[in-house]
């Protein structure tokens, strides 16, 4: 399943059974356990990444340097037995460095396509905001279309395909801020924050000697991930929930300069489905929506005043819009 057929996936799908959900949940549990061997704390963020994976979304991690963004992304990526690629974005990175390039093969005397790092199941785009827009958009096209175009030829990326990008919140003067339209392509934007004291101590304990990431092994087969995604898409979303999400989105539009888009609503529902699976439930309840919306909506909202940040608008929305 691709990320592009967003509009049709919610309906007409076979309902997932409790057994399906249980299987999918086991898959995620394995990933969480694996990731926690490397990452101390950040349980919430790990779960958010997993629900995004289940909901076929891409993730943007944004925080100050050194809090473990890349480590977290790597740990998740390496838990699957699929292809994992990492791209370090720099100001001089070219689009073809991401997508791949046609090179002339002297043996066969023809051009052949040498795939770039984007051709993987999990792509880690480090410091995505350091590359110029043209390079960024190469990655973003792959995220949106699940294909890349090189010299007029299109190449499908593998499936499942997930991008986990990170960006710094410092040194903004030497970065290329992602435009709103492109931010919208990320299902979630997560911030990690500094670890708590105990967590940080434990982390230091772990990394003395060999870093555990080096020993991390893939514990989940790609097939399992595909099956879990299938299950997630089949999680029941009843009318009250759909209407709740719609009302939330509309409320933000009335209280911000730029509110949550319909795509944001779709993303929220899919994330909520992932959350339901994570909780072992074959239907979405309002709590799932409330858990997901604070990471799905804010990066798509722009406010005018400094006091009402997008996060506050979303929180007000959740407090105000009645749960029915």
């Amino acid at each position: 399943m691709t990320d592009s057929d967003t509009d049709t996936r919610l309906s007409g799908r076979q309902q997932s059974t409790a057994e399906d959900v249980e299987a999918a949940r086991e898959t995620t549990t394995k990933v969480v356990e694996n990731v926690e061997r490397v990452i101390v704390g950040h349980r919430e963020e790990i779960e958010h990444i997993l629900t995004a994976l289940l909901g076929r979304g891409h993730i943007l991690l944004e925080d100050v340097p050194g809090v473990g963004k890349t480590m977290l992304a790597r740990a998740v990526a390496q838990s699957f037995d699929g292809a994992f690629k990492r791209v370090q974005f720099t100001p001089d990175l070219l689009p073809t460095d991401v997508t791949g390039v046609n090179v002339y093969n002297q043996k066969t005397e023809e051009f052949e396509f040498r795939p770039g790092p984007v051709f993987a199941n999990v792509v880690l785009g480090d410091e995505i905001n350091r590359a110029p827009p043209k390079t960024q958009s190469a990655l973003l096209e792959a995220m949106e279309e699940e294909q890349v175009s090189v010299d007029g030829e299109t190449h499908e990326v593998p499936s499942p395909f997930t991008v986990i990008a990170t960006q710094n919140t410092v040194e903004r003067d030497r970065t290329y801020q992602l435009p709103m339209a492109e931010l919208d392509r990320f299902m979630k934007k997560l911030a990690l924050g500094y670890p708590k004291l105990a967590e940080e101590n434990e982390m230091l304990d772990r990394v003395v000697g060999n870093h555990p990431i080096e020993e991390l092994e893939a514990t989940v087969a790609l097939a399992d991930l595909r099956a879990a995604r299938e299950t997630t898409a089949g999680v029941t979303v009843e009318k009250p929930i759909r209407s709740y999400v719609t009302r939330l989105a509309q409320h933000t539009r009335r209280h911000a300069e730029l509110g949550a888009s319909p795509r944001a609503g779709i993303a929220a529902l899919r994330a909520a489905q992932g959350r339901a699976v994570l909780e072992g439930r074959e239907y979405v309840i309002p709590d799932d929506v409330q858990t997901e919306v604070p990471v799905v909506f804010p990066h798509r909202i722009r406010t005018e005043s400094a006091e009402a940040t997008p996060e506050q608008v979303v929180q007000d929305t959740l407090d105000t819009v009645p749960v029915e």
Binding site: T236, E238, I285, Q290, T317, L318, T320, V323
Partner: protein, 743 residues
């Protein structure tokens, strides 16, 4: 209060938005209610007077129309001046219309000095008075109301009503109605002037309900403290009095009561050659629920009074007061009085003696009377050539009296072709067809009509009132008389008169003869009631019920002859089974109500208290349908209570309480949903409401609800968000909530 410009700009109704207009409408209806309350009293005056009420209605319509028309153009100062001028003009017209007697100055002075508490009904030309006085206040009140000067309007209207309250003419209910109207006018008027919505006046509605309900209880609290108020007087809750109290101490007005009792105390002794009814005074104006004596009294000052025109016999009576007496009884028709009370004696327009203050025990006085002597044939042929003064004064019944009374009277008296026979037939008919009883419930509305058509028993007041009314309906001049029957004859010429001898009867006027007594009350039952009362009192060893010689029973004259004063006993038609005719010399007067002869009003007309039962609402049993005024008050009170209940959300709470405890079973989804709603409501009452953005789970976690609540919520979630719930789950949810509600 606005500058004129303000009122002017606001008085264009078409520009008002509807909400604003509603407020103004309510404020104006408050003014209207106040006006209606005092106007109803004025209307009542006219109703009981000989004039038709139409002129008053026409006058009111013109005045109100004028006030409406002028409200925008006329300046307030001019309007006030105009109203005062109207009032002065009206009073002048009234005063100039007064006959030479009674003296104008004291009468008008009385009317203005409210302190006397005299009813305006005693004014002779009360109809003219009303026509003269009504326009001023009506105009000014309505004018001010229309100009949004609600406070001023209420002051004017309240002053008018207040005057009528001081004259005792406005009843409790009317007064309360006026007060409510005034409060609405001021309260809602204030809201109107501030331009607020009508809802701002909701607390006022609650307040009014409170006022009305509380004042409805006041009479019960103060019940029985002898507010034997006049006819239209305050509707206190006075309990049943004695017949005497209702008749003798009534002064110039008599209200009619319900239950009544008899007092066996001795009031006075009389030495007289012949037994007579010891008459106090009569009443000329019937109001539908009582009697009024119009006019005033004048000093007697000794000398001879006019004697009746026809043949008379002189009868001298010597009275000895045993118990303090506020009246001076005398046999009809007294021509002179001598003895101690002469200086305090007064003569009423009706020709009876009254005393200023009261007569102390031991006082003696002598009265010389000229008892009219006329045999039936003389009376039959007396004709109907009544002096104008008599027919004006004694043939009026309220125009509101139902026509059926006159119709039935005409049928009953169809065979009588002269006033004497008419009176006889009526007297006989009443005696034969109505039982004597002191235990009656005062009817609503016209007493005579009720006694004739609805009641089957009553006491003297009812009998006499009805007979007078019936006679008047046939244009026979008649009046209502109160006094004492002859009492216990203790010696050949000695009579001991007790409280229970108080009585009411009828006098009919015959040209060239004068006033002749008729008594429609059946004597037998009345005497029996009195005998019981005396025996009972003797058993209790009361000392005030007997004189030295009164314990031995009736003196039995050797000769049976009793002089026949007016109506010879022989004259009675087919003697009714119950009662023999009541000729005056019948030893037992009709059921007089006797009341304590305590001091009467300023004009000290003695007898007076005929208590027509029923003035009060203290009737036993029976449904008391409220009058229009009471219904209005009840309506306002109910409205206020409803508003109050709505504000308190009481109805909702009651509904919720039932809803919470009783859940009918439907399909699983509905049941689960409802169980959840009940749970939510229950938790809301016990903890706090769920916030809008709070999910049920978060809510339960926050308030620390127990496992049962969590189960219900889980079942509800499955039903609502997964669309799958089984019958068993629904039942479980319901029973869990039942458990929680009960716990």
């Amino acid at each position: 209060m606005s500058a004129p410009t303000g009122s002017r700009s606001r008085s264009l109704p078409s520009l008002d938005i509807s909400a604003e207009r509603a407020t103004r409408l309510v404020a104006l209806s408050g003014v209207g209610l106040l006006m209606a309350s005092y106007f109803s009293v004025l209307y009542y005056f006219v109703d009981v007077s000989p004039t038709s009420p139409l002129p008053l209605l026409a006058e009111a319509a013109v005045v109100l129309g004028l006030a409406t028309y002028l409200s925008e153009s006329l300046r307030a100062r001019v309007a006030v001046a105009a109203s005062l001028a109207l009032l002065a003009l009206g009073l002048t017209v009234y005063i100039s219309s007064l006959p030479r007697w009674p003296p104008i100055v004291p009468l008008v002075g009385d009317a203005i000095a409210l302190a006397t508490g005299r009813s305006l009904l005693q004014l002779i030309n009360v109809d003219l008075w009303v026509l003269g006085v009504a326009p001023g206040p009506l105009f000014l009140t309505w004018y001010l109301g229309l100009r949004r000067r609600y406070v001023s309007a209420t002051l004017v209207g309240g002053a008018t009503l207040g005057y009528l309250v001081l004259t005792t003419d406005a009843s409790n209910v009317i007064t309360l109605l006026g007060v409510v109207g005034g409060i609405v006018a001021v309260g809602v008027g204030d809201v109107d002037r501030r331009g607020d919505a009508l809802a701002a006046a909701e607390p006022l509605a609650v307040l009014l309900a409170l006022i009305i309900v509380v004042s409805a209880f006041v009479p019960f609290v103060y019940g029985g403290t002898g507010t034997a108020a006049g006819l239209s007087g305050f509707q206190g809750g006075g309990g049943a009095g004695t017949v005497e109290a209702s008749l003798v101490s009534a002064g110039s007005q008599i209200g009619i009561q319900g239950n009544i009792s008899l007092s066996p105390e001795v009031r006075f002794r009389v030495q007289s050659d012949r037994p007579q009814y010891w008459r106090i005074d009569s009443y000329n104006r019937y109001t539908g629920d009582g009697w009024v004596r119009t006019g005033s009294t004048r000093d007697y000052g000794g000398g001879q009074l006019d004697a009746p025109a026809g043949e008379t016999r002189t009868l001298t009576q010597r009275y000895e007061v045993v118990d303090e007496l506020g009246v001076a009884p005398a046999a009809w028709q007294p021509v002179s009085l001598s003895g101690a009370p002469v200086s305090a004696a007064r003569v009423s327009d009706e020709g009876g003696f009254a005393v200023q203050g009261s007569l102390a025990p031991g006082t003696n006085y002598t009265v010389e009377s000229r008892v009219p002597l006329a045999d039936p044939s003389t009376l039959r042929s007396a004709g109907t050539d009544y002096p104008e003064a008599v027919s004006d004064r004694y043939t009026t019944i309220p125009s509101s009296t139902p026509d059926r009374l006159a119709e039935r009277t005409a049928r009953i008296t169809a065979n009588a072709d002269n006033p004497y026979d008419t009176a006889r037939v009526i007297e006989q008919w009443l005696a034969n067809n109505r039982e004597y009883s002191l235990d009656v419930e005062r009817p609503e509305g016209d007493i005579a009509d009720a006694f004739l058509f609805e009641m089957d028993a009553g006491y003297c007041t009812y009998f006499a009132t009805t007979m007078v009314t019936m006679l008047r309906s046939q244009d026979v001049p008649a009046r209502f008389v109160v006094g004492y029957t002859e009492g216990q004859r203790v010696d050949r010429d000695e009579y001991v008169v007790r409280g229970y001898d108080a009585h009411a009867w009828v006098e009919v006027y015959f040209p060239d003869v004068g006033w002749v007594r008729f008594d429609p009350t059946p004597a037998g039952p009345r005497q029996a009631a009195e005998g019981e009362s005396l025996a009972e009192a003797r058993e209790q060893n009361r000392t005030d019920i007997d004189t030295n010689d009164s314990t031995g029973g009736e003196w039995t004259p050797t000769e049976t002859a009793t002089p026949a004063p007016l109506t010879p006993p022989a004259e009675q038609g087919g003697g009714g089974p119950v009662r023999t005719i009541t000729p005056p010399d019948n030893p037992v007067p009709d059921g007089i109500d006797r009341t304590a002869p305590n001091g009467s009003g300023p004009d000290a007309t003695t007898l007076g208290d005929v208590s027509v039962p029923g003035e009060e609402g203290d009737s036993d049993g029976g449904i008391d349908w409220p009058s229009r005024e009471e219904a209005t008050l009840v309506g306002i009170a109910v409205f206020g209570i409803v508003v109050g209940i709505r504000r308190l959300g009481l109805l909702g709470r009651v509904y919720r309480a039932i809803w919470l405890r009783y859940q009918p079973s439907a399909d699983s989804e509905t049941d689960t949903e409802r169980a959840f709603e009940r749970l939510e409501y229950l938790l809301e009452r016990r903890y706090r409401p769920r916030e809008p953005g709070e999910t049920p789970r978060q809510y339960l976690a926050d308030i620390g609800a127990d496992e049962r609540a969590r189960t219900v919520v889980a079942i509800h979630e499955r039903a609502r968000y997964a669309g799958q719930v089984t019958r068993e789950e629904a039942d479980e949810a319901m029973s869990l909530v039942d458990e929680l509600v009960a716990s």
